[in-house]
Amino acid sequence: MAQTLAVETHGLTKRYRTGVLAVSDLNLSVRTGEVYGFLGPNGAGKTTTLRMLSGLLHPTSGTAVVAGASPGSPLSLTRMGAMVETPAFYPYLSGLDNLRVVARYGGVPASRIDPALEQVDMEDRARHKFKTYSTGMKQRLGVAAALLKDPQLLILDEPTSGLDPQGTVEMRELIKELRRDGRTVLLSSHLLNEVELTCDRVGVITAGRLVAEGTIEEMRSRGGHALLIRATPLDQARRLVEAVFSRDRVSEQDGVLSLQVDRSQAASINRRLVADGVDVSELRMSEQSLEDVFLQLTEKAPSTPSPSGGGQGGGAS
């Protein structure tokens, strides 16, 4: 049975009037009920994409369906909560009044405010003015505002930004709780560890293009596996494997040979080395980390013409 999609884009493109191509031909699919990590370096086009999905930016071309409706339509907005780029509130109002304002705009009953504050652990400071809040507290209030509508889909841009370690753990737990409730979460981040711990699937964007998409495991396997060989004498071992495999698949670091081959070839390589009189003290597969894959993917892609990715001052990241 085909899985329903909470977010789906086809050829989504955003070119600013300045000519900067912030997002190019983006085909994204976020499945209902999953936590999807949107990864990319600064200026890759993450925030521009999230802005388009929230209806804040009009795409230059392409289409998107967000929570079953077109981005920015009342139906789509009713079903989603979003915190894009930075938690923006009225500095002269308290956190509580800010949520009242947001609730009124969203047509949400005021009775939803207390549970939302409780979810982000902000009850104690709710009556203080927003301008007195720390970055972490602003972030929490932003998430509370996104939760007010009790949405099916949450779009969170760098939700752990500015949070202390305790706050980061709590945010991670909150996201897991949201997933357990059956909600879909689309979050952007450049913190790979966070993404590995919270996301079911990830998409990697760089220079405005989606260069990879899949589960964490799939992403790790994209980088291929390396067979690590610790052997004596190492030179002889290197000559032997280079004779069988091309030179560019073999590297050496800290007395360990690294060979870009599939796991299935490990046994035959071991036999060959032993047969030629090489003492093999260690032979194991090394999986690349998400960080390695991320760096490979983002370094391969052509550089974007503008580091901001937002020609109009849009803080795309």
């Binding site: 802005r51 509130f89 705009y105 849009g314 803080g315």
Partner: protein, 279 residues
């Protein structure tokens, strides 16, 4: 739209800047338009020279001249305050980036802006009532202190004056709101609006009023048309021959309504179509 209006109401009610602007408006109106005028004209300096005696001039602070006296202050002071208030209502949303917080809630962009317009319309209405009431009370106190007699304008005249004042304040408020949307900057919106009001309208209109060709252009400016409307509420002791308006009061009202519609539609159009980018 009603949901947006309720949100706007909460924001504007709790915003000190709005109350301060309102306070400045009332205090300056009463201080300069009434109390100081009355004191100076009651005890004129020795070198006081005027075609009309001070004892007659001070009657501008009495109830019979409620409307023309309020209008003379509100033409520049009221317009300036309302441009600032209108500019703050929209430009601040861009400055604080709260526009994106609003727009990711349920109402569409049109509803958000219509809610803002409704709130500004009601705020302007309340300011109009408050200004006229404060001026009326002060003029009553002054005429009582003076021991003179004066009459109130007729109900019809009062209603017409009330409508004219509300219309003018609304036009300047929507002008400020439009500038806030167009510039997305509080400083640019307020600076641009006040520069237009005090340089574009007042200074240029005064200096170039008799230059051929310019006069025809002036007939289309909001300030000139507002002045024409104000001139239809003359002072009790002075004929309407003083500073004859460039257009009739009727044309003035129509032009102001057209400006109200144009600024509203332009604001809506820009707000609808423009991308909301970050800081």
């Amino acid at each position: 739209m009603i949901a947006s209006y309720r949100a706007e109401l909460l924001k504007s009610r709790k915003r000190w800047a709005n109350w301060i602007l309102f306070g400045i408006l009332v205090v300056l109106l009463l201080a300069f338009g009434y109390v100081l005028s009355y004191v100076i004209l009651t005890h004129p300096p020795r070198n006081f020279q005027s075609r009309i005696p001070a004892s007659v001039l001070k009657r501008e602070t009495f109830p019979e001249n409620l409307l023309p006296n309020v209008f003379s202050s509100m033409t520049s002071l009221g317009a300036a305050i309302m441009i600032i208030m209108g500019g703050l209502s929209t430009a601040s949303e861009y400055g604080w980036l709260t526009v994106q917080t609003i727009l990711v809630q349920k109402p569409g962009r049109t509803s958000v802006l219509l809610g803002k317009l409704l709130n500004l319309a009601i705020t302007t209405l309340l300011i109009t009532i408050a200004v006229l009431a404060a001026a009326a009370v002060t003029s009553y106190i002054l005429v009582s202190i003076d021991g003179s007699t004066s009459s109130w304008p007729s109900t019809t005249t009062l209603l017409k004056g009330f409508g004219a004042l509300w219309l003018q304040l609304a036009v300047w408020t929507v002008f400020g709101m439009f500038l806030g949307i167009a510039f997305r900057s509080t400083a640019a919106a307020i600076g641009g609006g006040l520069t237009y009001l005090f340089v574009g309208e007042a200074l240029v209109a005064q200096l170039l009023r008799d230059v051929s060709g310019v006069k025809e252009i002036l007939k289309f400016l909001p300030g000139v048309n507002a002045s024409a409307v104000n001139a239809s509420f003359p002072l009790s002791y002075r004929g309407s021959e003083a500073g004859a308006p460039l257009v009739s009061a009727g044309r003035g009202v129509i032009t102001l309504v057209v400006y109200l519609v144009i600024f509203t539609l332009l604001g809506l159009l820009i707000f609808q179509r423009r991308d909301v980018t970050g800081a």
